[in-house]
């Protein structure tokens, strides 16, 4: 693993992300990662609180229209997240918390897909009301995004090795 870290961290692209004085290197990538976080976690929270009973006059089938923006935020963060990982592979991959963050995001994504399938795309959801599993999924979604944000923030405080070079 150490050889892989050394190889990746000495590639010009990794070095550019990590060491370039350009504002478009690390600062821009990190900023986009924060904006994307607000979009994906925030829009997901908006759908979740609606499912849990806030703003009952909003048709759930129409909440689907915000899907495209939610997934845009997600993919923005998948891409910027990979770039941050290319810049600091040792820092992330030697920290157990990084794997917990990834697991939390994986659960949140699976839950989001289940919410879309079982609640938002359910043709009768606005007539029959939200099924109990829908409310459970919404609560899990809120918890996972909050925990993923906490894990992500704590990565800056809990790493043991910054780089292998």
């Amino acid at each position: 693993m150490n050889e892989f870290f050394v190889w990746l961290e000495t590639t010009p692209f990794s070095m550019w992300i990590r060491d370039s004085p350009s504002v478009f290197a690390f600062p821009t990538i990190l900023t986009l990662h924060t904006v994307g976080m607000g979009i994906v976690a925030g829009l997901s929270a908006a759908v979740d609180v609606r499912i849990l009973g806030v703003a009952p006059g909003v048709p759930l089938t129409e909440m689907q229209r915000f899907r495209a923006f939610l997934w845009l935020g997600f993919w923005l963060n998948a891409v910027t997240g990979v770039l941050l990982l290319v810049g600091y592979p040792t820092k992330a991959l030697t920290n157990p918390l990084f794997y917990i963050k990834l697991a939390l995001i994986a659960i949140a994504v699976a839950v989001q897909l289940a919410i879309e399938r079982r609640v938002l795309r359910h043709p009768k959801v606005d007539v029959d009301g939200v099924p109990k599993t829908g409310k459970f999924l919404a609560a899990v979604s809120l918890g996972c995004w909050a925990a993923a944000i906490a894990a992500g923030r704590l990565l800056a405080y809990t790493y043991s090795v910054l780089t292998s070079v």
């Binding site: 924060t34 904006v35 909440m63 229209r65 906490a150």
Partner: protein
């Protein structure tokens, strides 16, 4: 402005209520986490409302969607609270930081924008039911809101990359972006 900034820093440094918590292990990190969760709530709830004004999910009645706004305000209040905690713990890192000056500017723009919306447009806009398009003025307000809140996040993130250093012989200038006492 520089003498006023120095006065602000010394005054804030004397407020020592939150300092022990912020310097405790993970105190600062806990506040940052809350600040990020508040940011997400604000962007998620306010952004959803702005997108509806701009024409997304037009079948959603505006008054019904507006019930999400208190959750966005909750996010805003979390962030004002945690933001003030950062500020009074390390005042010189913010008061002399150009990113912080721009962040305040965009927060003020977002504030004026939201005040203008509720004072002039909200009465008409909240009556818009399912399928109704928002007037052009409301779309402009929504665009300004999305842009200014995004700019607030960008400036907040840039704080770490524009940290002030000691001012050189040229001095602090009108608005100090360096430590004048250095």
């Amino acid at each position: 402005m520089a003498p006023f900034q120095v006065w602000l820093v010394t005054t804030m440094r004397d407020i020592k209520i939150v300092s022990p918590f912020m310097h405790a292990p993970y105190g600062w990190a806990a506040c940052e986490t809350l600040h990020f969760i508040g940011l997400s709530l604000l962007i998620g709830m306010i952004g959803t409302f702005d997108l509806r004004l701009l024409g997304v999910a037009r079948r959603v009645p505006i008054a019904a969607l507006h019930k999400l706004i208190p959750w966005g305000i909750a996010g805003y209040l979390i962030n004002v609270t945690t933001g003030v905690m950062f500020l009074i713990t390390e005042p010189e890192q913010y008061i002399f930081n150009p990113s912080f000056h721009f962040k305040l500017l965009f927060m003020a723009l977002a504030g004026v924008n939201v005040a203008a919306f509720y004072l002039t447009l909200f009465g008409k806009v909240k009556a818009l039911g399912s399928g109704a398009d928002a007037p052009r003025a409301a779309k402009i307000v929504a665009g300004v809101s999305l842009t200014s809140w995004t700019a607030v996040i960008v400036c907040g993130r840039m704080l770490a990359f524009t940290r002030p250093f000691n001012c050189g012989p040229a001095g602090a200038g009108f608005l100090a972006t360096c430590f004048p006492h250095g």
